[in-house]
């Protein structure tokens, strides 16, 4: 019996692996997205261990591209590629942490709102409406006059606190729609508790939406964190692509053609990462949602 189950399980895995490969072959742009994302994850995890930390060296200012310096060196003689590599972990950390926190807050508040209804629902949706209307780059700028943002986790938490409303709203309306379906009725009759219904019956149904929302929350978090670092509002936490751009900007190197690759490196990285994420989100949709596939 046990053996049979295992074989059955293994069969399912090979089958879904085959299916996954098929999707990869068909959804080419999505595969490119996955490859880009994997590249960045390797860059952010293995990269800082392999590539030595950038050090300024006055004898190496503005060196051209070479094997030793793939992106050349900057106005302080620091290797540009090393700065990019050492800036990757913090960008990815804030992006994924914000995405995760956003989704968690949205799931909790959205399902409470959709399932409990009543006064709690009104209060949560009212809070969501208010947060949605506040323009958050200006808000962060005003907050920066008072609060010191110096910790990646604090930034992620603050970004998440302003990103959950639209996702929570969508989760709420999906839960409201699911509540009327027969399989939820059945689960209620069997005697499942509310928590069980939410986690075992409802959330798996909206998993594709949640996964895609996670990617979009990460994309927005990258926009915000790099932008705030570029404005000079988030103080220097190690290396960060936004801080690289800020430095180029405040020292005027952005208008200097010798500094071309120092300026281009973070710009290209952000374009590549954001494009990779959006393409990956479409692959996710394809993999998780069979209804899209059949079209």
């Amino acid at each position: 019996m046990n053996y049979l189950n295992k074989a059955h399980f293994r069969g399912r895995i090979t089958r879904s692996a085959k299916e996954f490969l098929q999707i990869l072959r068909r959804n080419k742009s999505g595969t490119v997205g996955l490859a880009i994302l994997l590249l960045f994850i390797v860059l952010g995890t293995v990269g800082p261990m392999v590539v030595p930390k950038p050090v300024s060296d006055p004898s190496k200012i503005y060196l051209p591209l070479s094997w030793e310096h793939p992106f050349g060196t900057d106005f302080e003689g620091k290797d540009v590629f090393a700065q990019i590599v050492h800036g990757t972990p913090i960008v990815l950390q804030i992006a994924f942490l914000t995405g995760l926190l956003t989704i968690l807050i949205a799931i909790v508040l959205g399902s409470i709102s959709g399932f409990k209804g009543g006064l709690l629902d009104t209060v949560i949706m009212f809070a969501a409406d208010i947060i949605l209307t506040i323009p958050f780059i200006p808000l962060f700028m005003v907050l920066a006059t008072i609060i010191k943002f110096s910790d990646a986790r604090a930034i992620a938490l603050l970004l998440a606190a302003f990103s959950w409303p639209s996702i929570a709203r969508a989760i709420r309306s999906q839960i409201l729609a699911l509540r009327e379906t027969t399989f939820i009725e059945a689960a209620k009759i069997i005697g499942y508790s509310t928590i069980e219904i939410i986690f075992r019956e409802m959330l798996p149904n909206i998993a594709p939406f949640i996964a895609v929302s996670f990617i979009f929350a990460s994309i927005n978090a990258i926009y915000a964190q790099v932008g705030l670092a570029f404005l000079g509002i988030v103080p220097y936490i190690g290396e960060n692509w936004g801080i690289m751009i800020n430095r180029a900007y405040t020292y005027g190197a952005i208008f200097y053609s010798k500094s071309f690759w120092y300026n281009m490196a973070p710009i290209l990285m952000i374009i590549l990462l954001q494009t990779g994420l959006i393409l990956f989100s479409r692959l996710l949709e394809d993999v998780l949602n069979p209804r899209v596939r059949e079209e």
């Binding site: 009212f126 323009p135 200006p138 006059t145 008072i146």
Partner: protein
């Protein structure tokens, strides 16, 4: 009895509830800015007093009096009275004075900088909306084709790339490397040596200065308009009246724009009304990149100089603008789709 019924209906009505929500939002944001300014440990007023004592050699009393005059508040009064005074000041349009440019009212600064933001982002919004609708309709008619799938990928990638990054790309490639565009000359909303007025010279200069910010806004927003329009057109194409029009033998072009286009564009108008809010607030980073002297750039300057009254005043005005345009969107929605009024 009947008047009671009418009153009840008004309170329950969609528009009334939206108005209440809009004003509650404005009220909450105002309250937050008030308490952030006054109650935070090491709040701006205390810092400013210490700063004055240190740099100006003033006594605590003198420094405090000067700070209070600037911040338009009287700290000796109980907190709730300060709060009501602040509220009534804001409602009269009195947002206090700038600390850095001494004596300049915040509202005057906003009146000077806001029009440039409204002009540049507003124009970009119109261009992006019209072009997006055009492209979206064509995509829907060629759905499933190679061009359609390429455009989907391209447009969604464009909307994922941060607008300020595209602006920087222009500066680094067109400005620093190819030296095609003199970006340092295009700073500000117009050239300082040209006298403002309704002269062709000045108008051309204004458009030249706004050109790149507008281009960046259009590139990064056109994707969502086109893709939304595409979806909307595809759903309208399945309607019976389109089939009937085809059966009647009407020319394809006429069906495309008067039967399909007009109906498909309706849902986009509420999105347009919501976007009006972004005319006021969604531009800070792009204005910073091009040193375009709009409200977002002025906010950054105020934050950098720790000019609290200006920073908070601008934030408050931006938020109020967003809330009011959301209210407009809700009302437009209720007019266009009568179903929401009956809830």
């Amino acid at each position: 009895m009947d008047s009671m019924g009418t009153a009840y209906r008004i309170v329950r009505s969609y528009i009334f509830r939206r108005c209440v929500r809009a004003f509650a939002t404005i009220f909450i944001v105002m309250t937050l800015t008030f308490f952030i300014l006054r109650l935070m440990p090491g709040n701006p007023i205390d810092l400013y007093i210490i700063n004055l004592m240190r740099s100006g050699g003033l006594s605590y009393e003198e420094a405090r009096n000067r700070a209070l005059a600037l911040f338009r508040i009287n700290l000796t009064m109980p907190l709730h009275i300060q709060y009501f005074e602040y509220l009534s000041n804001v409602f009269r349009g009195d947002l206090g004075n700038s600390i850095i440019s001494v004596g300049t009212p915040v509202i005057k600064i906003i009146a000077e900088f806001l029009p440039w933001t409204v002009f540049s982002v507003g124009l970009a919004l119109i261009i992006s909306f019209v072009l997006g609708i055009f492209i979206g309709t064509l995509m829907a008619y060629r759905r499933g084709s190679k061009i359609d799938s390429i455009l989907i990928t391209l447009l969604s990638a464009f909307s994922a790339i941060p607008n300020y990054i595209i602006g920087l790309l222009f500066i680094v490639v067109l400005g620093a490397q190819l030296k095609l565009v003199p970006f340092t000359m295009l700073r500000g909303a117009y050239s300082p040596y040209i006298k403002p007025g309704f002269t062709p010279e000045f108008i051309a200069d204004v458009f030249l200065h706004a050109a790149f910010p507008i281009l960046v806004y259009v590139i990064t927003t056109i994707g969502s308009w086109a893709l939304t329009m595409r979806g909307s057109v595809i759903s309208v194409l399945g309607e019976d009246y389109v089939l009937v029009a085809k059966v009647r033998g009407l020319p394809e072009r006429r069906i495309m724009w008067t039967y399909v286009g007009r109906n498909a564009v309706l849902p986009l108008f509420t999105n347009l009304a919501i976007s009006i809010g972004f005319i006021f607030g969604g531009s800070t980073l792009v204005e910073f990149v091009f040193v375009y002297r709009g409200i977002g750039y002025r906010l950054w300057e105020a934050v950098g100089a720790r000019d609290y009254p200006v920073a908070q005043g601008i934030f408050l005005i931006i938020t109020i603008a967003v809330v009011l345009s959301n209210l407009l969107a809700d009302m437009l929605y209720a007019v266009l789709d009568p179903r929401v009024r009956i809830e």
